[in-house]
Amino acid sequence: MVKINKRFKATTILESMVAMVIAVVCLGIGTMVFVNVLNSDKDRSSLRADLLLNRISLQLKRAKLFIDGEEKAENLIIRKTFEKYGDTDNLLQMTLQALDENNKLLFERKELILEE
């Protein structure tokens, strides 16, 4: 039988526990950051949809094309609806919706426009 005379340096169980707790807290914070970053990506797609709807609204008003319909633009589905507003005869409510590929509503824009 071989006798071991050498002393090994080791961490105490307390040290290990504290280090593990710190690691877990850091991991938790990291996860939150990850989720937030994912959320900011959601904001980015909303912003993209908003900018797209602004552009489409301008185009429709310039061309005076007030017809209900759906179209695809920049990987989004754009739904356009126009309805008479209240008891007026020259005012339309234009609703533009941007939906993703799963038909999930990303952004909606409502506006009253004069029909000359």
């Binding site: 340096k9 280090a19 900011s40 005012l91 506006e111 004069l114």
Partner: protein, 415 residues
């Protein structure tokens, strides 16, 4: 094998990671908040613009001189405060969108764009006399003329030089001129009776009086004659019970002048609405920018002739009208004088005569035409007058001189 100091290292590294993660969280949070704020701002601006469009439509929700809050899309989140108030011959439409303490405002001076029925260049009522034209007269657009028609004439050594009598359609006019917009005359008479809310400031050429259209109107009313040399702009009405003289050095923007007699001195430039009860004299080289209005509304029973006299070199963008009182002893003897080299871009109405020798890009409606020359006065004659309806911009919006028809339109965005 790790040393026992691992705890120290792990704490330091964890702190660094925590700081980095924390700052990323904050950055992400701030950017999300700022994005939401900008979306909310955009929605407010959109709602304010939609509210203004609602006021420009054929709506019945908000009456004249009324203020009302409405929920635009009936979902409890898109409230707008809409208001309509008269501003001389125009109307001010204001729309204020509110949400979570934030607000956005759209405010505009509104008028009417002429509808297709108003697309005439000249309307002269049928007094059983033809219209005679000479010199370089040009009538472009539909002309409503007396049954006796139109003929060439030779005055002051000048024969008619055009290839056609009217460059457009000729239609028959009625015996009576379409009556002037009654609502407008009532509004102008009410305006002249307004009580003062402020005193006339001590005038020097550097005095500047500005009042936003978001604030209540400032009425400066004086009994004696008023001479304006200073600068006035915005929601201000200047009234004199005697006369108003506007010096060339004065600076007027969007204000209303109201007096029995108004004189605008040579070389003045500005943008205003001026309403007189007796006479108005616009001296040489006056430039009134769009949308300006010059109008005479005679009081009932007036004995003097009403007159709106322009001078050579004047340039006016907007509307001019003269409305003789129906019960006046001087009925129909007053009129508008537009001399040569005077340019008008807009519409002119006179229920008396029109002495027209200038250039109108727009329309002229009058009871009869008078031509004063050095030697004589000719009835229903035009000499070197140009009236071109097609030269008026299709985007022009002015006031409804006859009745309020056509589409309401924003004439000018206000602050």
């Amino acid at each position: 094998m790790l040393k026992a100091g691992t705890l120290f290292y792990s704490i330091v590294i964890s702190l660094v990671i925590a700081l980095l993660s924390g700052s990323m969280i904050m950055l992400s949070q701030l950017s999300a908040e700022s994005f939401q704020r900008s979306l909310s701002r955009q929605e407010l601006e959109l709602n304010a613009a939609s509210g203004l469009n609602l006021l420009l439509s054929s709506q019945t929700l908000v009456a004249e001189e009324e203020e009302r809050t409405i929920d635009l899309y009936k979902n409890g989140t898109d409230s707008v405060l809409l208001s309509r108030q008269f501003w001389g011959a125009f109307e001010i439409a204001a729309s204020k969108a509110m949400r979570h303490g934030q607000e956005s405002m759209s405010i505009a001076e509104t008028g009417y764009s002429p509808n297709s029925a108003d697309n005439y260049c000249l309307y002269v009522s049928d007094l059983d006399k033809p219209v005679a034209i000479c010199g370089a007269t040009a009538l472009r657009g539909t002309a409503f003329l007396p049954k006796a028609g139109i003929k060439r004439a030779y005055i002051e050594g000048q024969n008619y030089t055009g290839s056609a009598m009217v460059y457009g359609e000729i239609r028959e006019s009625a015996k009576e001129l379409p009556p002037f917009n009654k609502k407008l005359t009532e509004r102008i008479k009410t305006l002249a009776r307004q009580e003062a809310t402020a005193a006339l400031p001590e005038e020097t050429e550097t005095t500047r009086t500005t009042n936003s259209f978001l604030s209540p109107v400032v009425v400066i009313s004086e009994r004696p004659a008023m001479t304006i040399r200073a600068s006035y702009s915005g929601h201000i009405v200047l009234i004199s019970q005697t006369a108003i003289t506007v010096e060339a050095a004065a600076s007027l923007e969007d204000v209303i002048l109201c007096a029995p007699k108004i004189i605008i001195k040579q070389g003045f430039r500005g943008n205003l609405q001026a309403f007189a009860a007796d006479s108005m004299l616009i001296e040489k080289d006056v430039v009134l920018n769009y949308p300006s209005v010059l109008g005479i509304v005679q009081q009932e029973g007036a004995k003097k002739n009403a007159a709106l006299i322009l001078s050579q070199g004047d340039s006016i963008s907007g509307s001019l009208f003269l409305c003789n009182a129906a019960s006046s002893q001087a009925l129909y003897t007053g009129g508008i004088t537009i001399p040569e080299k005077a340019v008008i871009c807009g519409s002119v109405y006179s229920n008396g005569y029109a002495d027209m020798r200038g250039n109108i890009s727009g329309s002229l409606m009058c009871r009869n035409l008078l031509l004063h020359t050095s030697s004589s006065v000719y009835e229903n004659h035009l000499l070197n007058a140009v009236i071109d309806r097609s030269a008026l911009s299709p985007y022009y919006a002015g006031i409804s001189l006859v009745e309020e028809t056509g589409f309401k339109k924003a004439v000018k965005w206000l602050k």
